[in-house]
């Protein structure tokens, strides 16, 4: 007996996995995927069954942990934002070689338009790179259904399966029909084919041929998939290929009555036969996909001499940024002018007086005190450089602080400062948060320790993973010990509270360590004001 629940796309996927007998969820916070693990953490069934739902240090450890659970025959999910897959890439690609024993879903949430990311890379490339199937839900109901379907697919093929989410589905709510009860979890069991789990060349060579041979099965399952559908249409001037949420925008444009044949794609590898059917019936194909032109490039091939293809690469759809119902309607209207009046709505001009309102560090944030002291401490130097990192403190690039010169990827503050110091840069300052430090800063710090690199690392510790909403940080209470353990000299490991009243002391501390021609680490600490408020509220209501 099904129930109805109002769920975000992320939540629907998490619940789908729980209802399909999930045993473990692994993740590192990252927009727009964070809500997946958060949902598991507070779901009553998950709590009762003690389904693993603790945050991992980074996406690589999360991926490997999920793989370990899969090795033991139980169903696991690992979730991350798209750039997190870059961090998890080593175990991810090799998990296709080991295969999965218990069903394994690798959920990667892309961020077209980079609402909260450094880029808008497309995770679908990773699935074809690793040679595994991918599922791309069109709506919240499919996201839920793909929990059970994905696990079954994974166990049938003995391979991990990617589920590709995008911001506009992950962070959108709709009513979803869900099972009344969660299925039982798998029991412990070990892989029948043990050799492929030890990736030594001898084993890998055999396994790789088997994986390649499985491509036919993956292709056949795509052809048969309930999530890939060729919907007939009488007007064959164009055929529309729409993947994932692009399908919704097509339906929106035509109020559900599209006259053109539409091929809806939500399972990869691409179903060649269905695509051929579309191509055979139509004069041209418009490819509409969220993200990079993955399908479109495949359709065109290198020579682009076959069937006429329209899409992002010829300007019918914007090359960058997320799809909108407007850009999709405009693309069709551009190709079929006689439908223009049906597709394009009248809309007003923008209001000129509106200005951008970018995010800013909260009033009362400890990072503000760090930047205020840092900027003053650097004033006496001719060409200081500050290497920043990923977190709320990245906002230190904006006015009024304009404090950082780089921000590239998780942990790069420390390692780029080291490289700069190696090049002769002085002062070379790195600023990193506590979560980012345990995510991927520690190994870079070890490099700096081993060469006593003349640089200063400031760890701005707000005791949380702030930007994503205040998740637990894995190194809380251990940061100084970690630094000492890595070999940082106790004489150049300093701690201070990030408070306005400590401004002069912080400034002097920074100056002293900038002038020291070796490695210094300063831990500047104050609880995030948002999490502090939440804790205070909770304590008050107890």
């Amino acid at each position: 007996m099904k129930q109805k629940k109002l769920l975000l796309g992320d939540e629907a996927l998490a619940l789908g996995a729980i209802d399909a007998g999930l045993s473990g969820a692994y993740a590192y916070p990252g927009t727009p995927s964070t809500e997946i693990l958060e949902f598991v953490q507070q779901n009553p069934v998950a709590c009762e069954r003690k389904i693993h739902s603790h945050w991992s240090s980074n996406e690589k450890t999360a991926m490997e942990e999920a793989l370990g659970m899969s090795f033991c025959g139980k169903r696991a999910i690992v979730s991350m934002k798209h750039v997190g897959l870059n961090v998890a890439a080593d175990p991810f690609v090799n998990s296709a070689m080991t295969g999965a024993n218990g069903g394994l879903l690798v959920i990667s949430a892309d961020d077209p338009s980079m609402h909260s990311s450094q880029n808008e890379q497309d995770s679908r490339f990773y699935a074809s790179f690793a040679i595994i199937p991918a599922l791309e839900p069109s709506d919240q109901q499919e996201a839920y259904d793909m929990g059970a379907y994905g696990f079954a697919l994974s166990e049938k093929l003995g391979l991990p399966v990617m589920v590709r989410m995008v911001t506009r589905l992950a962070h959108s709510r709709a009513v979803v029909e869900v099972e009344e009860n969660a299925a039982a979890e798998n029991q412990l069991s070990y892989p029948q084919k043990a050799r492929q789990w030890v990736l030594m060349p001898g084993n890998s060579r055999v396994r790789y041929r088997e994986l390649l041979a499985q491509k036919d099965d993956m292709e056949r399952l795509s052809e048969e998939s309930p999530f890939n559908r060729l919907i007939p249409g009488t007007d064959t001037r164009i055929g529309i290929l729409a993947s994932g949420i692009a399908y919704n925008y097509v339906n929106e444009a035509f109020a559900g009555r599209c006259p053109f044949p539409v091929l809806k794609i939500s399972q990869y590898p691409l179903p060649k036969k269905l695509v051929a059917q579309l191509a055979d019936t139509c004069d041209a194909i418009l490819v509409i996909e969220e993200g990079q032109p993955v399908i479109e490039e495949c359709m065109r091939g290198l020579l682009d001499r076959g069937l006429k293809i329209y899409g992002k690469l010829d300007g019918h759809l914007p090359r960058t940024g997320e799809l909108t119902p407007d850009s999709v309607a405009a693309a069709v209207a551009g190709l079929i002018p006689d439908m223009h009046h049906k597709l394009i709505r009248q809309s007003g001009a923008p209001a000129d007086i509106v200005v951008p309102r970018p995010p800013a560090l909260c009033q009362g944030c400890g990072h503000r005190d760090v930047y205020a002291a840092l900027n003053e401490a650097l004033e006496s130097f001719e060409s200081p450089k500050v290497f920043g990192d990923i977190g709320c403190y990245t906002l230190g690039w904006l006015a009024p602080y304009n404090a950082i010169d780089t921000c590239v990827d998780m942990g790069a503050s420390i390692t780029m400062a080291k490289g700069a110091a190696d090049a002769g840069q002085h002062p070379a300052v790195a600023i990193i948060g506590d979560s980012t430090f345990t995510h991927s800063g520690m190994t870079g710090l070890l490099d700096a320790v081993n060469e006593n690199t003349p640089m200063t690392l400031i760890i701005s510790d707000n005791l949380t993973t702030g930007m994503t909403g205040g998740q637990d940080s894995q190194g809380t209470g251990k940061l100084e010990d970690i630094c000492l353990g890595l070999g940082v000299s106790p004489d150049h490991l300093k701690t201070i509270d990030s408070l306005p009243k400590n401004h002069e002391e912080m400034k002097r501390m920074f100056e002293d360590e900038f002038n020291y021609r070796g490695l210094s680490v300063i831990v500047s600490r104050r609880e995030c004001i948002q999490t502090a408020r939440r804790h205070a509220k909770k304590a008050a209501t107890k």
Binding site: L6, T31, P32, T34, E35, H115, S116, T167, R168, L169, H171, S172, R173, A174, V175, I245, N248, Y249, N251, E252, G256, T324, P325, D326, A329, R345, Q346, S347, G348, A349, P350, A351, I353, V354, V355, P356, R357, P358, P359, A360, L361, C362, C392, L395, A399, M467, T468, G469, Q530
Partner: protein, 195 residues
């Protein structure tokens, strides 16, 4: 029926609570619903926007097309104007008039008032003041909800049920306070007609 609503404000103002209540109310009214929002960066004093789509038919896109928004509901006057391209012909703008100035190049208040006056269908008043009169300034978002209520297509009593449901856990006092603010908003918007 269908109502496409753009909710706007500044991160931290409480715009998403309005979406939650309307969503709860819509469900009891057996409507289809989609509500899209952006998390993460938006918390940090930046602009926030949510698309709330209600319909008696299944809804396709999570995002509202340009020229498709029946109402813009905003806690902040400049944020209301950010989405005017999405406003449908004949659509209504319901907005608080209190500026949230956390940027250096914020436009002059007179300019905002002037620009808003160009639109025929506007409900704009100081919702912070109204909130303070009947409850606390924190419930200005409930005043906004009340002012917008008659344009949503959802019966007022269902919205009040939504308020009760969503705030039940916070206790009777908060529920009553929010209902008072909601009703004050309804009353303020009651007489306002098209210009």
């Amino acid at each position: 029926m269908k109502t496409d609503i753009i909710l706007a404000g500044v991160g931290g103002q409480g715009i998403l609570s309005i979406a939650t209540i309307l969503g709860a109310a819509a469900l009891t009214d057996n409507l289809y619903l989609k509500q899209a929002e952006v998390h993460g960066m938006s918390q940090r004093g930046g602009d926030v926007m949510s698309c709330l789509r209600l319909s008696s038919e299944p809804i396709a896109s999570d995002l509202i097309p340009m020229g498709g928004a029946d109402i813009i509901v905003s806690l902040e006057p400049m944020e209301a104007l950010r989405y005017v391209q999405w406003l449908a012909p004949g659509g209504w703008i319901i907005t608080n008039t209190v500026p949230f100035v956390n940027i250096t190049n914020y436009p002059a208040e007179e300019q905002l008032t002037e620009t808003l006056a160009k639109y025929p269908n506007v409900v704009a008043f100081d919702m912070d003041e109204t909130a303070k009169e009947v409850a606390t300034v924190r419930s200005s978002n409930m005043v906004l909800l009340g002012a917008a209520a008659r344009f949503t297509g959802i019966p007022t009593d269902k919205i009040e049920d939504g308020i009760r449901t969503i705030f039940r856990a916070k206790g009777e006092k908060i529920v009553e306070s929010n209902l008072a603010a909601f009703r004050a908003g309804v009353a303020r918007a009651a007489g306002i007609e098209q210009r």
